[in-house]
Every structure is written in C-alpha cells, then in structure tokens.
Amino acid sequence: MRSLADRATGWLARGVIVFLYVPIVVVVVLSFNDSDVTYKWAGFSTRWYGVLAGDTDLLSSLRVSAEVGVASATLATAGGLLAAMGMARLGRRFRAVFSGGLFLPLVIPEIVLGVALLSVFGTLRADLGLTTLVLGHLVVTLPYAALIVLGAHGALDPALDEAAADLGCNAWQRFRRVTLPLLRQPLVAAWLLCFTISFGNIVMSTFTSGVGTTTLPLRVYSLLKGGLTPEINALGTLLVLFTFLIILGAGLRQMRRVLVGGDGTPG
C-alpha cells in the first residue's frame, strides 16, 4: 500500500516532467502560427519556415556556429582521447593532479573563463574571430569530451592491449586496430555532445566572437532583445529537432554515463 503522501509526490514529479515540456511544445506549436505576433493564434501555416530559409543574416551565423562547432568538437575529442591515453600511463598522484586541472573549467563560472580569455587576446592584440571562438569553445568542451572518453577508456580490458602486443603489434598498430575501434562509440558520443555544447554556447561566444563571426545564439540573443518573433520560434523548433537527433546519434547509454554515472543501466 502506497501512502497518500507518496502518491502526491508521484503526481508532483509527473507535473515537473510535464513542466519541462510545456515551454518546448509551445515553441513548436507557435512556430506554425500564421500571425505576425507569437501569442495570438491565427491558423496553421509554415510560412515562418520560409522566412527563416531566406534570412541571410541568420544563415550566415548558422554557418559560423557550424564551423566553430566542428572545429572545437574535433579538437576537444582528440585532446580528450590523447589525455585519457596519457593519464592511463600516469601514477596515482600525477593522475589526480592532471584530472584536477582537466576538470577545472567545469567548476569555474563560464563567464569568468570568457573574460579571462578576452583579457589574454586583448593583451596579445589578437583579432577576435573564428580562431578565438574555437579556442574559447575548446576550453568549454574539452572537459566534457575528457569525461566521456576517460570513463570509456578506463573501462577497457587492458588484456586486449597486451594480447595485441604479444601478437607483435607496435604501439601505433595497437592504437589503430584495438583502442580506436573499441572506443568508437564513446568518441562519436563525445564529438556530438561537444558539437551541441559549442553550437548552443552563448556565454563564451559573447567574449570571443569578433566582427563578422556572430554565432547563431549571439544573433538570436540580439534579435530577442527586440522582441520574440514567430520566425525565432521556427528556428527554435528546428533546434529542438536537432537535439533529438543528437541524442539518438550519441546513444542513450553514453548520455546516461555522463549525466548519472555508472554503466548507464538504471537500477
């Protein structure tokens, strides 16, 4: 027999999960609104998607975001993989120190990391642009990539590597033929999550983007300061769809491993 209080908590929890979806569903629904203002329903229409497709400003910032996302996700995943392999060769104490440094950006408020990078770029008189954006996003994404790859690398059976060595594989062959194939799935997941983090980033981009390299979130943020339009809802709907695809691509198992730890199976 479950108590009344238990059932009440259950209903409240369900309510919270619904609460998480109401705003997202509303964005999707209102993106099909045939009205110039978002909140008054004026019938079904897909015209805002047409407007979106012809918005050259938004499309050019989409391009910037995609480029920065691909570059920083690739660098972060590669850096994370190398770090995981390097850390496996360290003693306990050095490993603790190194992972402390590696995960430091996770606990420091991102805005401080952004300000700090801006100060360095300012001192070096570096022009803000794609390079500075990628470096900034690398700082933000590297810990996540390392988190995923480190966990997966630690779970590998060392006997496989030793067996390959006994069979005459050199270090490169062992990496290419054993380690890399075994880590394929976590690496894909790490790349996709880093890309998503970079693609949606606004705080770091605020300080590292320059003239002509406005990222999509920065463009949307400045549009929103002038008010919400149905066109932005249409964009939001596409971004929600994008989230679904990323989660499907990364795999739920990897996702759970990062977010709630363990092997990813509940219970």
Binding site: I24, P109, V112, L138, V139, I202, V240
Partner: protein, 316 residues
C-alpha cells in the same frame, strides 16, 4: 611492469635477444615518459594557456588602473575593489546570492521529488523517464529561455489559463518581471539538479525505506531520517551545480527580467562590453571566482564530513 626497480641485479644475458626487456631500461624509461608527455600535452596546454594563464591575468588586471579608454594601464591599486563596495554594486551581489540560493533550494526540492519518483519505477520505465529529462537538458539554452516569452506574454497561453480561471481579466504584463526571470532560472537549472540527486538516490537500497516504514516511521520521517541523508552527496553536488552557475547568468535577467535586476553575470558583461572598464570587470570576475571557491570549500567540507560520518557508521 610499470614499477621501476632501482638497480636490477646483474644477470647473464639471455640466449634469445629478440625478447623485449622485462625491466624498463633507462632508455625505454625516457621514451615512455616522452610518449606520456606528448599524449598529455594538447589537453595540458589547453588548460594551462587558455585557462590558468588567463585567470592569472584577470587577477592581475583587477589590481590595475584604467587608462582613459578603460584599458589596462598597469600599476597597483585596490580602487577597483573599493568601488565594488558602492551600494549599487553591493545590491547586485546581494540580489545574486539571494536568487542563486532560492534557485538552488527550489531545484533541489523538485529534483529530489522527481528522483524519488524515478527510483520507484521499474527499470525499463526509469530509463524512459530519464530520457524525458535528458531531452530538455540538451535542448538549446536560448530556446528554453525564449519559450517563456511565448508562454508569459500578455494574451499568451498562461494568460489565457488564468483568464479562464478568473485569476486575471484580460492581457496581463508578466514579462519583464523578477518572477519571470526566476521561473526561467528554475527551468534552466532543474534538469542539471535532477541528475546527481537521482544518481545518489539510485544507489540506496529500497529495503531501507521499507524497513523504516515497518518500524513505524511516517512518510516524513522516512525521508528526513533515512532517504535524504543517504542522498546528501547528490544533493550537495546538485546545489553546487546550480548555485555557482546561477551567479554568472546574464541572458535570463535580460530577456525575462528586463535587465533591471542584475546578476553578477550581467554586471561583468556590462563592465566589459558597455562601460569598457576592464579593471573593474576583472575585479567583479575575481569576486565571482572567490564566491565559487568559498562555495566549493563549504560544499567540500560538508561532503567530507558526510564521508567520515558514513565510514564511522560503518555497517550500522
């Protein structure tokens, strides 16, 4: 294999020369170290050059004087920090701490309830429900924020609901307001808070709650005496993951709060991008960093005490 023996005892050379050396020689040791260093270099350099050095520069800049254009002139002064003691700025710090604390508490309470509900479901259902929380977590931050502009605009869905219930009459201005800003903050951080609480509650044997119930504990005491203490590591992590980041938020107070009530994040952005006063911006950033370190120390000490208490409790 990994342990290096100081001086290997002299042995006669083995007949076969093709075997790899069982004990690392000086040469292979150096090579090994070089490979390890090369593997760690990209990540190490990233953290060193793009995090540690920049942070040191911010610290240094916070003591510098500004040139007429707001750039860094050098020198050493405490004036930037002194200026932050101005009531205008103190209000921002106080407001931020209050908002962050309130946001953490609400996220923790809701996060605990959702986690408790989740762990009570059968494993397959649990996986599905967890996915339902993962999706909003990965949904674009800006989308999740401007979604509330849709919901709360005059004549919007929420307004239609309150009209129907007779709570409001006609279009009502909820945006911009502090309330809207707060709802946006809770909405943004709630999924973040659920995961660690769920992770620690999942490790608790459900028999413990049942045993407490059988021994006569009411619903409230089962939670306060048994489950909540056991979920405390997760709750501490969740508190840390909501409290400190909330202080540095700047998008939500602008879009949903109208920018009137600022968080430390807004202050830093304003100082850097609008006032172009870099030394002051650096000082505000150092204060935020200090608040983070204090929070880490407090939460870390609490977690440490918890671990010691659990170890002492042992098998009881």
């Amino acid at each position: 294999m990994t342990e290096t023996v100081a001086a290997p005892p002299p042995v006669s050379p083995p007949p076969s020369v093709s075997l790899p050396p069982a004990v690392p020689t000086r040469r292979t040791g150096v090579r090994r170290t070089a490979v390890t260093a090369a593997l760690l270099a990209p990540a190490g350099l990233t953290v060193g050059a793009l995090v540690l050095v920049p942070l040191a520069l911010v610290l240094r800049n916070s003591f510098a004087t500004a040139d007429p254009y707001g750039g860094i002139q050098g020198g050493f002064t405490l004036a930037n920090y002194h200026e932050l003691l101005d009531p205008v700025y103190l209000k921002v710090f106080g407001y931020s701490l209050g908002m962050a604390a309130l946001n953490s508490v609400v996220c923790l309470v809701l996060g605990y309830m959702v986690s408790y509900y989740l762990v009570g479901r059968p494993p397959r259902r649990q996986g599905l429900l967890l996915l339902l929380i993962i999706v909003p977590f990965w949904t674009d931050f800006l989308v999740r924020t401007f979604a509330w502009i849709n919901l709360l605009s005059p004549g919007g869905p929420v307004n239609a609901l309150t009209d129907a219930l007779g709570l409001t009459h006609g279009p009502t201005e909820w945006i911009p307001s502090q309330g809207a800003s707060f709802v946006g903050l809770v909405y943004a951080f709630l999924p973040t808070a659920i995961f660690p609480v769920y992770a620690s509650l999942r490790g608790v044997d459900p028999a413990l709650g049942e045993a407490a119930r059988d021994l006569g504990c009411g619903w409230w005491r089962v939670h306060t005496r048994v489950l909540l203490p056991l979920a405390r590591p997760g709750l501490l992590a969740a508190a840390l993951l909501t409290f400190v980041p909330t202080l540095g938020v700047f998008v939500i107070p602008v879009l949903l709060g109208g920018g009137k009530h600022q968080l430390i994040g807004n202050l830093i952005v304003t100082l850097y991008t609008e006032f172009r006063n870099q030394p002051m911006g650096a000082a505000a950033s150092v204060v935020l960093l200090a608040l983070m370190i204090v929070s880490l120390a407090v939460f870390g000490a609490a977690a440490g005490r918890l671990r010691r208490a659990q170890r002492k409790g042992g098998t009881s």
